[in-house]
Assembly symmetry: C2
Homo-oligomer: 301 residues x 2
């Protein structure tokens, strides 16, 4: 099946980046967009994030072959209800949420007759809002597609092909596995970063000014991800609760072991772990998911 | 007092960067260097990290007004013993260690008659070894100087002026306070990063390949600091034990609160923290310790 018109619901960092990327890389596909916030619609139109920013959700999705919901995970159900009455038969509904079990369930409940193909582009920055998007956000990044068991193969192929057209690499997996993998690679790192930044700002013997001044010692890398969109991340943790708590439990066990090693002066346990983690870094650079240069190769954006 | 000759003991990332920086920014100061590892001495000479790489520690420090020990914190005592018989009277001995109480004590024990002015340039990368250094490493970064109560002011000024000459901003504080501030801004972030990278690589239901593939979701920022020199970091945790355990205790309390909030579906607690941590990020960027651009401004190196 061919996608001729994509509707993007939610015009923040991810929605806006999809709109810009389609216009640049898949110019034969028409783009429409809508956002619940009038002010966001105005700014999105000003930046030309999509071909047409619509004033109503009905107008935005009425002609679409593919609707992509780019709203916080906790708002997916509402967004799906809002589009439900206005879809053409056969329209594919997808999303970009960071947890997939809960989103799949919400979309299925709101859209019992639609073709639902959930997806998650593993890409982002700490910025949010309609000014934050850029067309290259998905290039060389992975997009995970998590179709249900009864999803038609041609719809899975269409969504996969769409993301490949934006420069992403696509992997299909089941929603459960996605949620566990992302708990490890994304959700827990964010939770930990938020926590340590909060801990640091609450200390009474170290001023906030000192924390900021000396942040180049490691702390600043945590503040970057702890500056991500609060609504989006609140929803991620609530919606991927089981996998997050599972991985968090393992993390705190491992941290307790190191705490004990420090208390006991057990240098070998520390050294062995620190040596082992180096090899993972090397693999990430080899895989092209980060860059060994001091700027992490990010000047390409 | 005027520094005419600096000896650098240990020619890895920090020692090598000091040597390059002095030659570029303070060309009137002569530089000598020594490393316990013959192969490192050879590579340091090949890159010209210092004006003269010496074959013995005696030769390296014999004419120096300032000796800077750039070895892992756990090796500071041995390094101080090695230089002790060869110093001119009045030579200042300094270091670059990331914990200051234990280093101050080790230097005082090994060098009862020397002028000891410990220092800590808060700068680094995840690379190590003689190939890793570059002259701009300290530019616009802080260097914390932690003199003992009886340290002569002219020696404190000389060491401070030296670091300012390499482009650093200098702050003088007592060693106890340094160790607490750095536990927060550097040591705990590193410990957490090492832990989560280890946890991720031990999961049986998520392959290491998957962790690497999807690391762009947040994990990769942790792997960067978890690739730092294992010997250096083992020594930091063992030598700054009390402050590290104190801050770690607070971190795990805070993490337990969030864990509970996730378990109970308490979105407000999560949102409030996530909103608060954003403002700290903003301050770090305003203070010039990081950069809002996607490359973090790191292309300048």
């Amino acid at each position: 099946m061919t996608i001729e018109c994509v509707a993007i619901i939610g015009l923040g960092l991810i929605g806006g980046s999809i709109g810009l990327a389609v216009q640049e890389m898949l110019p034969d596909i028409a783009t429409t967009g809508w956002d619940a916030d009038t002010e966001v619609r105005r700014r999105a139109a000003g930046r030309g994030l999509v071909g047409m920013v619509c004033e109503t959700v009905a107008e935005a999705v009425g002609e679409a072959d593919l609707v992509i919901l780019c709203v916080p995970v906790g708002a997916m159900g509402h967004a799906a209800e809002a589009i439900a009455p206005h879809l053409k038969p056969g329209t594919i509904v997808s999303d970009v949420g960071s947890s997939k079990n809960s989103v799949g369930a919400a979309l299925s409940a709101a859209l019992p007759d639609a073709v639902i193909i959930p997806a998650h582009p593993v890409a982002g920055t700490e910025k949010s809002g309609p000014e934050a998007g850029f067309a290259e956000l998905f290039r060389h990044r992975w997009c995970i597609v998590t179709p249900g068991n009864d999803a038609p193969q041609d719809a899975v192929d269409a969504v996969s092909g769409f993301w490949e057209g934006l420069g992403a690499k696509v992997e299909v997996m089941d929603a459960d596995h996605h949620d566990l993998v992302l708990a490890v690679t994304s959700h827990i790192p964010h939770l930990i970063a938020y926590t340590i930044v909060g801990t640091a700002s609450d200390l009474e013997d170290v001023t906030r000014g000192e924390v900021i001044k000396y942040s180049a010692g490691g702390f600043r890398d945590f503040t970057r991800i702890a500056a991500s969109n609060p609504t989006m991340w609140r929803d991620v943790f609530l919606s991927n609760r089981d996998a997050v708590l599972e991985v968090l439990g393992r993390f705190t066990e491992d941290l307790s072991l190191l705490q004990r090693a420090i208390r006991n002066g057990d240098g070998d346990t520390l050294f062995d772990l620190f040596e082992r983690t180096r090899t993972i870094r090397r693999s990430i650079i080899e895989e092209g998911q980060d860059d060994a240069r001091p700027d992490f190769g990010r000047k390409d954006h």
